[in-house]
């Protein structure tokens, strides 16, 4: 249940921050029109990473959090910020195959990493079984915690090889807060999503390479 607090890797040393092997994606390498993540006088670092299967690189203020990089630089606004203490889980993404809270992950520490966000979960226009399960079981109301819930749920099921029960799901969702649903339907959705993932053979730890 503590996986959400583990970092995918140690922060990269500044000197090694620009291997730049992958060609940068056009959308990601452009300086955004509203560079909230750059500050006059702030120390800049260059990062290259893969987000939802596409290469992304940028020069960013060293203080930039992964969630800021995703939301502001890449305009991937499905990942949300609901708190400032790493508690609510609205910002959960997958970093090298593990769920992390992108609000407490420095973007600079993700150099060379593979990131999957809620926008990258559906494959080939087909929803991930966990996304389907949340809709089918009314596992969301306002939708704000939902991306983090779904990313955490996929991680829980994968991490546990599909062996989940109501008690396990409730315990493992410790790092995700929902104020709308009372969790009843989220738990039902995660259990249904777990069954669907098991049936599809995807209820196993994700490749971290």
């Amino acid at each position: 249940m503590f996986s959400l607090f583990r970092k995918g890797k140690k922060p990269a040393e500044p000197a090694s921050a620009s291997p730049s092997a992958a060609p940068p994606a056009a959308a990601a390498s452009a300086t955004p029109s509203n560079p909230t993540t750059t500050t006059p006088g702030g120390r800049m670092v260059k990062i290259n990473l893969t987000v939802n299967g596409k290469p992304a690189s940028a020069d960013i203020d060293a203080r930039t959090l992964l969630v800021q990089f995703l939301r502001e630089n890449l305009r991937l606004t499905g990942t949300h910020v609901g708190c400032d203490t790493s508690q609510c889980g609205a910002c959960v993404v997958h970093l090298d195959g593990r769920a992390v809270k992108s609000c407490t992950t420095l973007a600079a520490s993700c150099d060379g990493a593979k990131v999957v966000t809620i926008e990258g979960l559906a494959q080939g226009g087909k929803l991930h079984p966990m996304q389907e399960a949340f809709r089918e079981h009314h596992g969301l109301q306002c939708g704000f915690c939902t991306p983090g819930m779904i990313m955490a749920a996929v991680d829980i099921v994968a991490r546990r090889g599909g062996r989940v029960s109501e008690d396990v799901v409730r315990a493992d969702l410790e790092g995700n807060i929902c104020r709308c649903t009372g969790y009843h339907n989220i738990v039902a959705a995660v259990l249904a999503g777990a069954a669907a993932m098991s049936a599809a053979g995807t209820a196993k730890p994700q490749a971290a390479e």
Binding site: T39, H138, R179, G182
Partner: protein, 788 residues
Amino acid sequence: MTATGIGAPVKRKEDQRFITGKGQYTDDINRPGQAYAVFVRSPHAHATLKNIDLSAALKSPGCLGAFTGADLAADKVGTLICGWMIHSKDGSPMKAGVHPALAQGKVRYVGDHVAVVIGETLNAAKDAAEKVSVDYDALPAVTELASAQNADQPQIHAEAANNTVYQWHLGDKAAVAAAFAGAKYVTKIDLINNRLIPNAIEPRAAIGEWDAGNDSLTLYTTSQNPHVTRLVLAAFIGLAPEHKLRVIAPDVGGGFGSKIFIYAEETVCLWAARKVGRPVKWTGDRSEAFLADAHGRDHVTHAELAVDANGKILALRASTKANLGGYLSTFASSVPTYLYAPLLSGQYDIPAIYCEVDGVYTNTAPVDAYRGAGRPEATFVVERLVEVAARQIGMDPAEFRRQNFIKSFPHQTPVIMAYDAGDYEACLNKALELADYKGLGARKAESAKKGLKRGLGFSAYIEACGIAPSQAVGSLGAGVGLWESAEVRVNPTGSVEVLTGSHSHGQGHETTFAQLVSQRLGIPIEQVTIVHGDTDKVQFGMGTYGSRSGAVGMSAIFRAIDKVIVKAKKVAGFVLEVPEETVDFNDGIFSSKATNKTLTFPEVALQAYIAHKFTGAQLEPGLKEGAFFDPTNFTFPSGVHICELEIDPATGATRIERWTAVDDFGTLVNPMIVEGQVHGGIVQGVGQALLEGAVYNKDGQLVTASFMDYTMPRASDVPSFKVAMTSTPCPSNPLGIKGCGEAGAIAAPAAVINAITDALGHEGVAMPATPQAVWRAANRSTQKLAAE
């Protein structure tokens, strides 16, 4: 019932965007040239502002401007308002202090808005805000509600002597006193209704934008009622005329009341956009939400119940102090008065009721409506009193309730409300059966074998919802009418756009409202789009709160559809070449006994627009109708919730084992969504009962100011729930809907505390019943013995 009509558990249309990360919340929006606002907030609960030095901030790299309350005053920006006038017992109007968007002269709670800094980037704005130098002269703070009115306490507002905003009352004091004098049993309790922080998971946000070419303003904001926001910003705060101000509330991530109000931040962003000539964005962080979003509840109450020798309730009286915080928020004054005392009859036939309420200023964040707003507080008073009375008399608490239930309708209570429909025994009977009440004794024995204490608690709640009719609320002091509007636009191809003044922030209106249209017009639900949350699209509306969108908002759509059908029948008459009065419309087909030809709804829609079959003298082309719906009464959802829990007296850990909810919401539009609303409400109520509580220390510092310190319910804190329904349709709206959004939060706290006190065998535990509090209560007798 059709597959997508009223009563069908239709999967939500809006979910596709939310589960794929394509929702568009305010912070997801970025405007060209956007700058960023950061607020400098008071670290003191109560202080005089001696000087604010902006010079260093203005020199900070990327700083575009820095402003204080003096700048707002110089531009004649109005102050924030409280829109509900309450009169005290002596007839005098409430004593409201001034509420500037940026403090002037004094700050009155930690988090109060002292200055705003605008930066090129968020970090630039933060860096500059750090350089604002404020010279405070700290004053003693008033933080304890019970003593806030004492003569020795500091004065928070000059206008309100003894920090008292009003001393209000309702009911017949003399009749109640007479009833108590003749009572066999008198039950007395003292209650604290703990202060809560709403914590919608989306923090509040705002983007103000000025169009210099048209001299118009646009505000993107996290609002439950964008038209009310526009009205207040235009008519009272005076930032722009109403027709030059557009308010957009896009996807909103939960509200629970906290996004009804018109706050300082959106006011300042909109004003500053014109000042700096750039769009100005502010996104609150969670710490700001804790400090400065309006909080909820916070009552101290003494209540008494008079009962005769046969167990019949004779009278109820309550005396409440309500904490209103450092300023009056938008609807703060109404919550502990007209949304509270009129519900003190509960589900019971109580001949005499009297309630007095003091509204009190303290140096804490403003307190306003939070899910249930007044009605959870009333239910907690009534259901704790009834439970304790039953125990004192020695009656089964279910049977004591049953004996005192109102059994015929309509029923006029002694405190304003005329209940129109209900069957309280039906709810109770179903709940007793689903909860296996008969088996409780055996389960208690099983728990006892394990060294655990098992308890069961009831809560038979009632609410007044819809928060209408307009004339009624106007007579009680509301500054606005509380009807709702709708416009139904039929396109030439037969698809339909519904513009509604309701606002969805989790309630699923895009689905439920479309179900109504699908059923009544006989068209697929995919052919219906619900438009809301933009004052440039929807003409006017009162928004979503008080469980009103079904009962009032959908009723407006219902009435607009009535008009569409009337017009469509005229069109069909011309096309079918039959008299209009012979045209019938059923299941999407227009027919007439005068012909064997029929027309579908899309065919008639097309004919309405091409207008080839009638002249302009005969009929106006097009198919678009609107309606304003103002109901004739409040709605009265009710139900019985039963909480069964187990306490470990060694640790104080409380585990909810079973939850049974049987609710009467009248007509259910989408039972899947209704059950989801019940689940969410229950957990907010369980949160209040077991986990949540805002705590200020004596200096006025909020010590529960993060998710690390304020215990939000998490998945492992609650069980799954058994939710069932009964139905007595509401007679005051065409759909029979009563509303379901607040029920769980209203019912749950009393059910939990009644269960805990049942388990412990005494009444000595208050909310939040944390493990520590329960452990102390469970070991109370042991501690006493040890002390002796």
